[in-house]
Symmetry: C2
Subunit: 317 residues, 2 copies
Amino acid sequence: MDETELVERLAAIGWKGSRGVILGPGDDAAVLRGGLAVSTDMMVEGVHFSFDWVTPTEAGFRAGAAALSDMAAMGASPEALLVSMALPAGDPELGEALQRGVRAAGDRVGAVIAGGDVSRTPRAVVLDVVVVGRVRDGGVRRSGAQPGDDLWVSGVVGGAAAAVAAWSQGREPAPAARVRFAAPPDRTGLGRALAAQGLASAMIDISDGLVLDAKRLAKASSVAIRVRRDLVPVDTEAGGDLNRALEGGEDYELMFTAHPKGKERVLALERELSVQLTRIGTVGQGADVALEDSEGRQVRPGRGGYDHFADPSGNRG
Amino acid sequence: MDETELVERLAAIGWKGSRGVILGPGDDAAVLRGGLAVSTDMMVEGVHFSFDWVTPTEAGFRAGAAALSDMAAMGASPEALLVSMALPAGDPELGEALQRGVRAAGDRVGAVIAGGDVSRTPRAVVLDVVVVGRVRDGGVRRSGAQPGDDLWVSGVVGGAAAAVAAWSQGREPAPAARVRFAAPPDRTGLGRALAAQGLASAMIDISDGLVLDAKRLAKASSVAIRVRRDLVPVDTEAGGDLNRALEGGEDYELMFTAHPKGKERVLALERELSVQLTRIGTVGQGADVALEDSEGRQVRPGRGGYDHFADPSGNRG
């Protein structure tokens, strides 16, 4: 059973509908009556990061930024974070450094740390960051993509995975790749603008890899997604290549679908917000995700993306 | 540095006030504009529980009930849970059993599991349960106790600590003690009623021990608390003794303060809700917590309570 399957099985156990919850499991965040979005993101030392790779403050920043990325993908305005941490006994300084990192990620978007919990642990440090934000009209979901829409991605992808690959092989990553991993981009403003202007029909953050997250979006919307491989904005500056861009994950960029009529307004946002926005594919009828080369020939992708649950090796490369 | 100190230092790092957050760190939950309360509660295998003590479903139930206890202590109506879990790779059944346990705790109070996260971990299972609920008028806080108030506690205390003591000594606990640990009581209805009737001036759940949590309440309210040792409702049926009742924690009962004029209405609630409610002390001017014997002689307590961060032995007894 891989992570995706397990998450679905856990959701099936836990969820049964609710008057107070207007969006349950299966999206980037749950949405409650009154327009509050809530999500939680767990990072485990030795699985998602290593203190041989990043400093404690960087690990905290990354955990905070990753959690906030779920809010961006809903088009939400983040307001508060709660930080739970399991730490080795006798190392409060580590906890303080992690907290400073999460706080810096919160400061970037104007969200405070309003609570949390702390425990010791016999081994791996665990950070679980909860984010609460506000959405209008239920937020931008994964399920709204329509046949005929364009598929867009923000920024450049594959750089963070290049850093992980280097570390996993015992090398130091290029400085640009290290930054991509240690300091994920903030797409809060982009997500809010896409939501406010009604431009994005569906949205997801590509934390687990472009192809895997495209599959999630396709499944939630009951559509087929075609990705033009040659259009994917590969983060070559950070040592990214096409495979890492498609499968590597870790980038925390946004992927969204938009009606073709919205193209000019999307490109206007690109200029306003100084965020690269690239049309990388289209939405059609059907199911699943297909890769196309520049001549429209299809290559069916593998499962794609990194699976935090299935990989027993601890090796992220 | 003990857990209390570390929590305070982390709060000082993370918190700086916010327009959207009307109650920040330092209470049982944060409260957001619009009346939403949010809290998070982390349980680590080998620290808070062991699979030698309880089944995975019981561990999940306990984690859910513990998280929900924070809502009860705010007088909140819980609506949704989010469950993050770190699991050994290749053990999805464990995750499903934990989730079923959390769900059962949610079912008891009508709260659904609206999301979560899952990761593998190199060792100890970690469960972090987030609860979102609704409060009126900002919720019942730790900070509202007034000199002259009475101090009350729900249920009986010391039973769960007796179970932990038995397990830690390699013995099986008495069946009643085991139940106290595996299935903490639900005080949601009591918390809501105390809030709705304006009876509780301050409230906290006594998860870390009656004396330690009384100190937290005293500190938050800037008052002194006197506990009449002989009035504490010791859970003798479950093998509890006075020390465990005062220091053991794990019970998830509510402790609250109320104006003496409210006494009859508190006792009416006891009958209505079939929850034992015991007046165990009084609030005065000053600071800290004092224990009194039946003749009013004071015994100053030790630090009190169990500290999940400081104890390096893994031994909860």
